[in-house]
Subunit: 334 residues, 2 copies
């Protein structure tokens, strides 16, 4: 294992200190317990709090700021945060309109956010993201996994919350966005959890893992490596089939947000090649890609690979996607 | 070699098509010859044109847009663009105040941009970036290599050009920024040039390459892998020693822009850990980090590793760094 670390036990704290220091105009770090919050507390809005295991940066710390999250609670690498983090964060950022948790559907996260929800004195609700179409149930999950679609949920709900909407409306929009998102990932190499010091899974030089999870969980199947168009077609078709299975009707000229997300080690050059392949395919299906995001937005430590997320837009989602945002890793209009 | 590609010969065109399609609101792609230009031509400003081998994305395509470049000319992977690209791009974006080339100091790039400079009908000048302190002369270079400091040059000069400054002033500011930048990189793994299909260099599981170039060129020495603080200290000290050798006096309380740049496969988690280590060290030297950038801004295909760039700010540089920018990969204030 070769990583830029001093002591494996200190990785998270040192990295959080770096993050908070680099973005001190935007965020503040609380260390006991650990959370990142906006340096300027918002007032009179639903407080959006997310969190989860570290190792997926910029998820979630990079999305704290105006128009997105109020706080993010990082667990240790690939490990859920604990309820005290969410409760303390809520005490710091709640501003009278309640707390909305955005939680990726993993057993540990769900349990810990549920405990926090029960133990905190504020009105609260939870959006559970489960956009990964590749498997039902998985190593760390009952039900579908929450992956890169979570970024879209955080952006869109963050915008609505910023406009002063109430808890119920924010929760409703978040659930809608999650419902209209589908994602699937492919791994070419494994990630290496620092504390383990070795690859999470073995994969040969001529193989890919179709449907991999963002912790290196197994996907649908191990497949022979092949050309990008063929991989991308299987990914896009898996998402579209899943929409069909869930009775989400796609109409010709439906507007799509296409997110091509890198897991880390796949060059941007290749992510744009994947984007090109996916966009061309969607066009043949009469779907219109009208919003795009290409880059490393939900990573898996140093894994090579990428995921594709399709979000079926409507006017409300599109407007809230377009509105200004100012975080470390997503910024426009400000 | 496992990459998301269809045919090795088509990587660049497919990736450029994806880039132009994802950012069609910002840029336009010209294919014969290849360049990316702003979709909305700027008027009455010095036209900034950069370019170089592909494989370093988002450099330079990701920096085309308001407040930065007017056009970028991508060569094939790790290969210089040819003069026809720069000349055609200039014809498209020149708006009466001349053309300023921003060129990383590699023999092929220098030669091709020089030919373009001589062959084009417009008044023009060139800023040659050479911020890499690790080696004098290298595999593809006479003199020092231009690396991630180039992003700072493009941002700062882009701002001044946007304000309507003339060619001489823009050239002068660019040279100043380059002079006040120092960079050094470390590789933990090699990149793989698609056409070659194998690692550019061999490196053991317990080694790092100190001073690596962004094409995998050898650096100062092969060293045993060690803790991050020790690696970062050597990097920061190498840059500071270089400032001293070049008679650039650093005074206590001098303001610094600290760029921690990932080459691709190093997780953001680790880049922030590197940032933390560098910022702490600079503080002990009474230097004040007042601007920061952390992420993959000048990459080397799928290489694991990172570079550190220090830019000594002054009022003019700081103001032009802070001004609005709207490109695919750097955006604020808009």
């Amino acid at each position: 294992m070769k990583k830029f670390v001093n002591n494996v036990d200190d990785i998270l704290v040192e990295s959080l200190n770096g993050f908070a220091s680099a973005h001190h105009d935007l965020v503040e770090l609380n260390l006991e317990p650990k959370f990142i919050m906006r340096s300027k507390k918002a007032s009179n809005k639903v407080a959006l709090i997310s969190g989860g295991g570290s190792g997926h940066e910029p998820l979630h710390n990079g999305y704290v700021g105006y128009g997105m999250l109020d706080a993010a609670c990082p667990g240790h690498i690939f490990t859920s945060p604990t309820p005290d983090q969410m409760i303390e964060a809520a005490h710091k950022v709640e501003s009278g309109k309640g707390v909305l948790f955005i939680v990726k559907n993993y057993t540990g996260d769900v349990m810990n956010f549920e405990m926090a929800s029960e133990m905190m004195p504020f009105k609260n609700a939870t959006i559970l993201t489960c956009d990964d179409v590749s498997v039902i149930n998985s190593t760390y999950t009952t039900g579908r996994r929450g992956v890169a679609g979570t970024v879209i949920v955080e952006k869109v709900v963050g915008s609505l919350a910023e406009k002063g909407a109430d808890l119920e409306s924010c929760k409703k929009l978040g659930d809608k966005v999650n419902h209209r998102c589908g994602s699937i990932g492919v791994a070419l190499t494994s990630c290496i959890v620092p504390a383990a010091g070795r690859s999470t899974f073995e994969i040969q030089d001529n193989e890919l893992e179709m449907g991999v999870g963002i912790h290196g969980e197994p996907g649908r199947r191990r497949e022979p490596m092949r050309d990008a168009d063929s991989i991308v077609a299987d990914m896009v078709n898996a998402i579209l089939e899943d929409f069909e299975l869930r009775d989400i009707k796609l109409c010709p000229d439906d507007e799509i947000l296409l997110l091509v997300n890198g897991f880390a080690a796949t060059p941007l050059l290749e992510l744009y090649l994947i984007y090109n392949s996916a966009a061309k395919l969607l066009k043949t299906k009469n779907l219109r890609v009208v919003r795009s995001l290409v880059g490393n937005y939900t990573t898996s430590l140093e894994m090579a690979g990428a995921s594709i997320t399709l979000c079926i837009l409507d006017q409300e989602i599109k407007e809230n996607w377009d509105s200004p945002v100012h975080t470390a890793s997503l910024r426009w209009g400000i």
